[in-house]
Amino acid sequence: MSDTQAVLAETATPQAAPAAIFGDSHAPTVPMQLEPRELKIQFTGSGSEYFRIWIVNLLLIVVTLGLYLPFAKARRLRYLWSNTVVDGQALSFHGNAWKMFRGFVLLLLLSGSYAVASRLSVTAGIFAFTVMCALWPSLWRASLQFRMANTGWRGLRFAFTGDVAGAYKAWLPIYIPLVVMVAAQLLLADAQLRKDFSAPVQVYAVLMGVSLLTLMVLTPWGLARIKRYQHGGYALADQQTRMDLGTGRFYGLGFKTLGVGLLAILAPAFALGVLAAVLFAGNKMALTVAVPVGVLVGYLMGFAVVGPYWTARLQNMVWSHTASQDLRFDSQLKMRSLLGLTVVNFLLMALTLGLYRPFAVIATTRLRLEAVSLSSEADIDRWLAGAAAQYQDAAGDAAGDFFGIDMGL
């Protein structure tokens, strides 16, 4: 606690101080344009070492009934960060496990009451859902702030500079249809309570259908806004990232993914259907086997093909358009490599009852991180800490876990 306050005080000191300490006579006001230089990104983590960390963490989590979770998480992040080497220097993770623990307990209470509420009654569930929806963008922003503020490189802390209003605006396109959906559910629950079926289920179904359709149509737009907000908010020293990527590109990716999905799921389903029809012609029992097998194959294809396709293309698109004044990112993640890795990971995890998971995490992280390259035109030695790095409450970070969000990398 007092440590972090001290740190806060340090970083908040005026920028004149470091210059004085170094006896640096040229204040870094005139940025020097240098030849672009590649800052190599390497990931040095090892699956077998991460396995040992993971299994001991997991055991400690279960014997403490989950209370060890934030400590395990801090160790996991420290391991991953210290193995993420940018231009020869690893990232450092500064999160305080005890602060993370507080945030974790808070979230536990919140999600516990959410779960209870939604089990108890429809109305309570919808109320809880509405509260969650209202809080979500600011929790999401808090988690980004926490994650960035606790990440350092060469002693400088990152920051996330997006504001609260921006977070809400970014989520707006996805929120509108969601609100309609909740409203439809509310109406239905109300009708059920009053045993009033004058407005039948059809009304509800139509409302649901329309809002779902709207959601699907608006999602690429929403995603574009969310990514622009996210990638426009990362900061380190005087560098502030931005992402110049039009909404159209997100629609393009959405359509392509839809096409890939249709091909990947329908083609094998069709082949399977033809095969079943030829092999078991006239045997109706075969249908009862073919349908679940078809569904399973569809899921697996979606998991193995559509997932990696979407992940790889989105990462490449978003990071290749992210830049700050002197830094430029580029991502060349090959969909085929990610696909192969995902399939291997899935099979090995199924075979080992999940024990392969830490190896899978390391391999995936390596593939995704090392696909990114970073070039710099700045004299990094002259970088100074940004104005006032803020240290956010760890509740936001726990919330990020709860909702399963991450940094997109």
């Binding site: 740190v7 970083t11 070492e49 001991v56 997991l58 400088l156 020293a237 999940g354 002259r382 800490a385």
Partner: protein
């Protein structure tokens, strides 16, 4: 030793000389700083990755040569924490993996049932009833229609069942018997919900129209579920197992995480069915009826199932006809003790 020092204000590395003395870390750059050992955030020993020392003033000492750091730390008398020593030994990790498997097994075998016992004791009956009523209104909305049975027939079944419950000394178990017409796919069916709502489909009454005692046997089975609060127990147990599976596999693939949960649930509900069968047999006997009437029911179910398979269906999705196989259950109800 010498390493890179980043002061937290500038990205420029300065060479720093560090040593431990009098319980303090001494850092010499252009000036000398001391930090109490306890205030420093030391890196944990690991084979891969760089070593970073986080100082209380926001500065970071960075050592890219981890072997050199580890040697220095050992020579300076910095000790690894117990957890780190555990994690860095393959034997320790192996023990942890075995303990983890043992834990998962005990959770499934003893932990979840024990937790269910506790929850069942603490959940107020009103809450359990409201869970059941919610479920009933949902299935009513989605699948069920009002019963088309004659009022007298419903009345007679209600009365005979009430008499059986009282005669078998289970008058304290509160239940409500509902008659409903289900969709065709539901077939002859009956199910119990948390809180004591028992639903009986018209198809089952018709299926056993000449064997009313068997209908009572089915109801006694459902009463067994109510008495032992199987609905609530199953809810608790499956949530726990699901959470456990989710912890290990969840964010990789929900399908993989779902498999152990489904398997564990199958085990639990099989057990519950056996318990309800025992309850049904005792109830029938106490009410002066012969449990062998149930044998007729299972024979007919087998027949129905065979017939349906010819039509291209696998099974009758009947709650009472689910888990332990019909033959075993037929023998159970036919056996003399």
């Amino acid at each position: 030793m010498t390493l890179d020092c980043f002061d937290g204000r500038s990205a420029q590395a300065q060479p720093a000389q560090i040593w431990l003395q009098d319980g303090a870390l001494h850092v010499l750059t252009t000036q000398l700083q001391r930090h109490p050992v306890r205030a420093v955030h030391w890196p944990e020993r690991q084979r891969h990755g760089q070593r970073q020392v986080l100082l209380p003033d926001g500065a970071v000492l960075s050592c890219t040569d981890s072997a050199r750091w580890d040697a220095w730390a050992r020579d300076s008398g910095l000790r690894d924490s117990l957890t780190v020593r555990w994690m860095q030994s393959w034997r320790g990790a192996g023990v942890a993996a075995l303990l983890m498997l043992a834990f998962a097994f005990s959770l499934w075998r003893w932990g979840a049932p024990a937790a269910a016992d506790v929850v069942v004791r603490w959940v107020p009956p009103a809450l359990e009833r409201s869970i059941g009523e919610n479920a009933l209104s949902q299935v009513d909305e989605l699948w069920l229609q009002p019963s088309k049975l004659k009022a007298e027939q419903q009345q007679r079944l209600q009365e005979r069942f009430a008499a059986l419950v009282t005669a078998s000394g289970q008058g304290a178990t509160s239940y409500r018997l509902h008659f409903r017409a289900g969709p065709k796919a539901m077939g002859p069916n009956a199910f119990a919900l948390p809180g004591g709502d028992i639903v009986l489909t018209d198809a089952l009454v018709e299926f056993l129209s000449d064997q009313e005692d068997a209908v009572l046997g089915v109801l006694a089975h459902e009463l067994g579920h109510v008495k032992h609060q199987h609905g609530l127990r199953l809810l608790v147990k499956s949530s726990l197992v699901g959470a456990m599976a989710g912890l290990m596999l969840g964010d990789f693939s929900s399908l993989l995480a779902g498999v152990p949960a489904v398997l564990a649930n199958a085990g639990y509900s099989r057990e519950a069915e056996r318990e309800a069968d025992r309850c049904a047999r005792d109830t029938l006997r106490a009410g002066g009826l012969s449990p062998t009437v149930m044998a007729v029911f299972f024979e007919r179910l087998q027949g129905l199932r065979k017939g349906k398979e010819g039509e291209g269906r696998f099974s009758v999705p009947s709650a009472i006809a689910s888990h332990p196989d019909d033959e075993e259950r037929r023998r159970f109800f036919s056996s003399p003790n």
